[in-house]
Symmetry: C2
Subunit: 368 residues, 2 copies
DNA sequence: GATTAGCACTCGCTCCCAATGAGTGCCAGA
DNA sequence: TCTGGCACTCATTGGGAGCGAGTGCTAATC
């Protein structure tokens, strides 16, 4: 079925895609004859283009226009024909300066996404690190005056702080809470949250009545704290900038969400100029959920990844391509970043840029 | 200078604006003769329109089109001619249901802004409450293992929690911190943050050496906690969903920012359809700062306020109007909410809607 | 057999022009 | 003071001609 595609045809396709990316206009046989480097007449090129069209690599918008690449054409181009171009050294310097590890995580991520957006003139995208590996440093309970409620402060990893209010069935005295905290800190400090949850579960299974009072309190409290979060709730609260959250456990995969910069750059691209398309796209950004699913998918790859047009599976991104790369902290992939732009984007520059940005962000996060 | 504007001319203007708001097209004399209710011929109407044009209330896009209202025309319309229409009872029910005080502040604000956006089909806007009146409920210190750093947890108002990490000059023992907390809680619980800051300042002034050790610790710690925040830093962190913030004191006016919903609705309006206009507008939303200045201004008014076109003073909002109303908690204005849409919006419906939404939100916040 | 030149054809784009019609300004008469 | 009438303006619409880029096909050439 999949016909062989000749060396020469590949070169033609490469030239065609490059030209289309540069100029944004259908490419005709004359231009290709001139620019491909092959010593062929336009007529020959036309014959080759007919082959390419039959293979579904190119299409012509109408009879008397040149050809433009299809998604499949871009695919082949990106996978096999692309000659990447290392990022401009000026850009590299800017990137390195911006991504200095001295600042807070949030502004690091923010400047990363706006750097991506500025350099590419498209939309930059950085997913907030999702540490599967969340280490408990310290836990503390603080009784709130008035009712049974208890404020739980959990310090994880470096000095990241999360807090939530829980409402236990009965009232605990201050000393009970203090002891519980001591117990939990002694037991679990330095362990990661999933592990802790497992330990708790098994501990609860082991004859409850044999636990002494202090441990009992501790386990009861912790049970409520480390319950998996009802999906979404915690994240949305965090993403909107509110510290407290009644309900929603500390699942370890806290603070999902992503930062987007430069959406408005996308308004400049002719292929997205239809207001309806833009609207769909922007709505999709606002929805966040689809986007996060997509990014989740990207996290599993170990290098830069390119989604072309409908490949993402989300309708709003039909005419867009997404270039992503996962970034790592301590050898573990914790998030992805990337760029969203029209299918017709300068892949040869964007791909290495995204790649190097991911590495730099990872490095910056590592040094904190 | 400002010529008298007759009863009849006012009615004409009113009808004209209403028609233009409804239809979005320049209004001609024939239509006005038919709809104004006055028994006048088109020719007479034309004479009146010439007067209105001289007064700067209306303008015609070109010779042979009808007239459209100018900003000044809208102004007069809104100030003097408008007959508001109470919100649809269905809408009221929806609003009341959505704004039930059981949920967290953040989701309350979020659903408020999306309700505003949904009902008006424009962009809804809710400024995060800025409580000048922030009552301290409880303060607690938590030494972080490793270095001198201390995590400070402050519970304010209801059960809102804020935390930050401070780095005192010397290391404090756990018991010192405990005593300091006890002292501060005993002294200041129930007081508002500005008051506390003042007390602290005077206390520090009063011969420092006379303080006993415990009080000394407490005051030293508190001094660092209640220092006014370097403007912006804290807010931005909060707005982006990160709980911790090294640096940036608890100024009481924490968490500035606003929630915007339904920006994409604005894409449907012909008067904003130029991509360049939309881009400016969206960029302005992203900037946030101008917008916040504007909202700040609005907070000072005690009722609904309407900015028409360039009145806001911000270029991006040239062709937009903003309808805002402040909302109150415990009798104090703590924020504003509103709607952004094209100058040609249905003021008679939007104004009462924004008004009632502000009241409902205030009520909902009050009941927490 | 591959390549090329030549040629007729397609089709989007632009420009021009005429027709349309909504709406105006003005003037003279009621 | 109002109104009817009238000439005028001007955005909009639609059709037609001309242009030019680019194609597909065929026949000649290497």
């Amino acid at each position: 079925m999949t016909q062989e595609i000749g060396e020469r045809a590949q070169l033609i396709l490469k030239t065609l895609v490059e030209s289309y990316i540069r100029e944004g206009q259908p490419v005709g046989s004359r231009l290709l004859a001139r620019d491909s480097g092959l010593e062929l007449s336009p007529a020959t090129i036309r014959n080759i283009m007919i082959d390419l069209e039959e293979l579904g690599m190119v299409a012509s918008p109408h009879t008397s226009a040149g050809r433009i690449p299809t998604a499949k054409g871009y695919r082949l181009f990106v996978d096999a024909l692309l000659t990447v171009q290392p990022p401009d050294s000026g850009e590299m310097v800017r990137l390195k300066n911006q991504l200095n590890p001295g600042v807070s995580v949030e502004s690091l991520l923010e400047s990363t996404s706006s750097m991506l957006s500025n350099i590419t003139r498209m939309a930059g995208l950085v997913m907030v690190p999702r540490r599967e590996h969340t280490v408990l440093r310290q836990i503390e309970f603080l009784p709130l005056s008035g009712d049974n409620r208890v404020l739980v402060i959990v310090v994880i990893n470096g000095h990241e702080v999360q807090n939530r209010v829980i409402q236990p069935r009965r009232r605990y005295s201050e000393s009970e809470l203090q002891e519980a905290a001591n117990y939990l800190n002694a037991m679990f400090a330095g362990k990661d949250l999933p592990t802790i949850r497992n330990c708790l579960l098994s501990e609860m299974g082991a004859a409850r009545e044999t636990l002494n009072g202090m441990m009992q309190t501790a386990v009861e409290m912790a049970e409520e704290v480390f319950a998996p979060a009802p999906s979404g709730a915690q994240g949305r609260a965090a993403a909107k900038g509110f510290a407290s959250a009644v309900g929603g456990g500390m699942s370890g995969a806290a603070e999902p969400g992503y930062l987007l910069a430069g959406q408005t750059n996308l308004m400049d691209f002719a292929e997205l100029s239809s207001v309806e398309k833009l609207r769909q796209l922007f709505d999709a950004f606002n929805q966040k959920r689809d986007m996060l699913d997509l990014l989740d998918q990207c996290m599993r790859a170990e290098a830069a990844q390119v989604f072309i047009g409908a490949e993402s599976g989300y309708k709003a991104l039909d005419e867009c391509s997404i270039v992503t790369a996962p970034y790592e902290v301590e050898g573990q992939v914790v998030g992805v970043l990337g760029v969203i732009g029209p299918t017709r984007m300068a892949y040869h520059r964007v791909i290495p840029l995204v790649d190097v940005t991911a590495k730099l962000l990872g490095a910056a996060l590592n040094q904190r």
